[in-house]
Symmetry: C2
Subunit: 282 residues, 2 copies
């Protein structure tokens, strides 16, 4: 006899057909991966761009770029990672949700917050000015997402923000600030990723924004990336948007060379878009 | 009995398998197309970029971007068009060959210059400083290409250059110079394309460089493009190269919108690269 129990799913629940999952599998952390195998999490860099390598028309601008299939794919990818990481610029500009709306995860047919990734915000100076009205915390209240961990360089993050995070089960995590070669003060990606493992997060999907992606494609960090999944939409946004293009590299002879290349490349046409999967060539 | 005549082909002759030709066919001018059907030629915009939409590390820099299959494809596309057009910037920076090295065309196993496209250089001020040592003219001497037509705004192009072109069967073609909305003096793409038809060239493949491509993707001109074929290589060149990204568009309400979109889109994985075929959405 068929199960007669009818479950009401939220209207914005997404479906990602099994038939589309296969091509992604070799590029994802194995199911049930636990921390302990490596001091780094399985790290996937994933984003969607236009043909002119732009994430958006401007920071925070709603930019209809990739199709509905690609959107559902993003949520499937989220369901396959323990955490999603973004930079503070994106948090400030987008008021992001960072949850997973795939049918079957917690809040969308599943139990509790099962399958919901932990949002991670990299925010060296704790400048993300969130409140309980921020989308991310609203989703926590509704049982549709987990509270964020905010990775900062501040020894004493703002008390009011800390109180909000405490209430929902999130927290600030303080790491050392380093002076880079070019004099910037910033967190070190290696330490950020190792911190996730200490928090029992065995995998992370890094979604943006431009500054985060460009920095991770630098040879100093690209060895920490296990998998790259880029969706490309057949449109040019035009000059002036948020561009993915890492810092130029120089050869030993001082000549410019490609900043980063992928190998083990697979292209998968997907609706009007294409999905590119690969690994950064070291 | 098998034909025992052995033909020696130049060492740099390229082969493009029949099996790879099919997917391109709907995006190409029909074989044997004649002028007369339209006042415009069949116009294909085609180029190869990195993931960060760059044609080259810098103008004229040899940039190993797309794979050998994509190179052979480019020469097949050249064999399917009556002419190849580039801007003067590319002519100056690259000392280009602009011929077709596909097996079977003139100079590569074929008769005379059969199947060789006519090189068209758009050079408003006739600043391309070519000599008989320029690659393009050397190829003419060797029977491996046709002499260029140079489209200029000068009523009296330099006599020494004109003498060289005359000798090889090329020429200058003078068109009117127009003052654009933003005060630049330039040729009009509509007039350039119509001139090709007057020269009995029923199709043109526009290959670059960045300024030419960005200008043709502007809505003012994109209706003149019949087909767009872009090869994308899985590498980021890094900030500072020659970028394809057209001018930003604004909506009727003054908000930025995508500069250009393609429809009738096909993505074709091709070696490590992908080939995108489509039409500009009007």
């Amino acid at each position: 006899m068929a199960d007669t129990k009818v479950q009401i799913l939220p209207k914005d629940t997404l479906h990602f057909p099994d038939a589309d999952r296969g091509f992604l599998e070799p590029h994802l952390p194995e199911k049930g991966r636990k921390v302990g195998k490596s001091k780094f999490p399985f790290t996937t860099l994933t984003f969607a761009t236009s043909l002119d390598s732009q994430l958006a028309l401007s920071p925070g601008a709603p930019t209809a770029l990739s199709g509905p299939q690609s959107k559902a794919m993003t949520h499937y990818l989220r369901s396959r990672h323990d955490s999603i990481l973004i930079g503070v610029g994106t948090a400030v500009a987008d008021d992001p949700s960072l949850n997973c709306r795939l049918e079957g995860v917690g809040g969308y047919g599943g139990k509790g917050t099962d399958g919901q990734p932990r949002p991670i915000i990299v925010d060296p100076n704790a400048r993300w000015d969130f409140t309980e009205h921020s989308k991310l915390l609203k989703l926590c209240r509704d049982g549709k997402g987990k509270a964020p961990y905010i990775i900062t360089g501040l020894l004493e993050p703002p008390a009011d923000k800390k109180a909000i995070l405490d209430k929902y089960g999130g927290k600030f995590i303080t790491l050392a600030i380093h002076k880079s070669d070019i004099g910037e003060h910033r967190l070190d990606w290696g330490e950020v990723l190792q911190t996730l493992v200490k928090e029992d997060l065995a995998s992370v999907m890094i979604e943006g924004g431009g500054a985060v992606i460009n920095s991770l494609l630098h040879p100093k960090y690209s060895s920490m990336i296990d998998s790259v999944i880029v969706t490309i939409a057949p449109a040019w946004l035009g000059q002036g948007g948020v561009v993915v293009s890492p810092q130029r590299r120089l050869s030993d002879e001082g000549k410019p060379i490609a900043a980063a290349r992928l190998d083990s490349v697979k292209w998968h046409p997907f609706g009007d878009d294409v999905v590119l999967c690969g690994k950064v060539k070291l």
